[in-house]
Symmetry: C2
Subunit: 209 residues, 2 copies
Amino acid sequence: MSFELHASHDEQLTRLAQELSKGSLDLSGDLVLRIVRESYASLARTASVSQHLVSLTERFAKQRLADIARHHTHSDTPQVLFLCVANAGRSQLAAALLNHLSDGAVIARSAGSAPSSEIHPGVQRMLTDIEGESRSAERFPKPLTDDAVRAADVVITMGCGDVCPILPGVRYEEWDVPDPAAASGQDLEEIREDITTRVRALLDTLSNK
Amino acid sequence: MSFELHASHDEQLTRLAQELSKGSLDLSGDLVLRIVRESYASLARTASVSQHLVSLTERFAKQRLADIARHHTHSDTPQVLFLCVANAGRSQLAAALLNHLSDGAVIARSAGSAPSSEIHPGVQRMLTDIEGESRSAERFPKPLTDDAVRAADVVITMGCGDVCPILPGVRYEEWDVPDPAAASGQDLEEIREDITTRVRALLDTLSNK
């Protein structure tokens, strides 16, 4: 275990929390620090490369703080949460497609019930194709959090079963989409087509609200 | 997915948070509610039987609140956190043995980097043998949390690699103990003997502080 590396991580997390607290959110510094530290702990459970952990924590914690703020302020922009097991294939692809097809009119999030350490390489190539190198490189598998469910208007589950608390006012759908982890190149294209069709149909229901 | 069941869960969680807030802890109701909800979400990711989820959440949230309170108050009772991958074998056994052998003079906790849905049946029988039916029935696999690490004086890792933030003032040890999941009855006895010897040695170092 790399003791020194991680000791410096803790200082970096404290600084990160201080910076995030300075943002416009109406949250106490203590709560922000706790969310940053807990985000790190939950990513550390699954991440394979520890030197990226602090930057992953920053992205994950920012999303969680945005989810909490959104839950408080009741934003008008619809938010959709895609859930699968590994958050390495289907849910990443669906979120990227919805972001892309809605052109920013919908916020798409994704998470997994047992997140992998990395996105499936075939899916990563598709993400780059959909939304470009820099944006797709920002994506990473992350665990389902309570904040993410509460911030969502729609939750789409894909093969992850009964992992999601059911809340009043949130719409739930189960999509029966194959797992890209076991798919060939051709199968992967079909999965992308399948998800694209479903995302377009979903987008229609959100625009007509 | 059992939608109705989970809708009632959310009300139960809100009541649970209200009850826990009435305790002696110096924590805001908002923070307690958040910890209760997040505990539920993280257990829901791995639990196999959803009807036990609320009672598991109560036990997990109480531990987490105790960990946070302990970190604030700097208790004199040493606390040890045992970590393995599944929190279904080695770490459960080590925590039960340390609780038993220390006779309450040490607080033992356990957690996993990828918690299973259930404790390994052979280990569950040993836990019952060590600490009795009612206490052993209270044990369950749970994910590593930041609070648990910060509340610990000693963290013992068993085969779960680099998952734990390294903090100043916390002592870390790696124990090379085989995984009971793949063990026969005889092997399991040997693992218990191995852990018992290590726990006794650890206890000596804690008593001599």
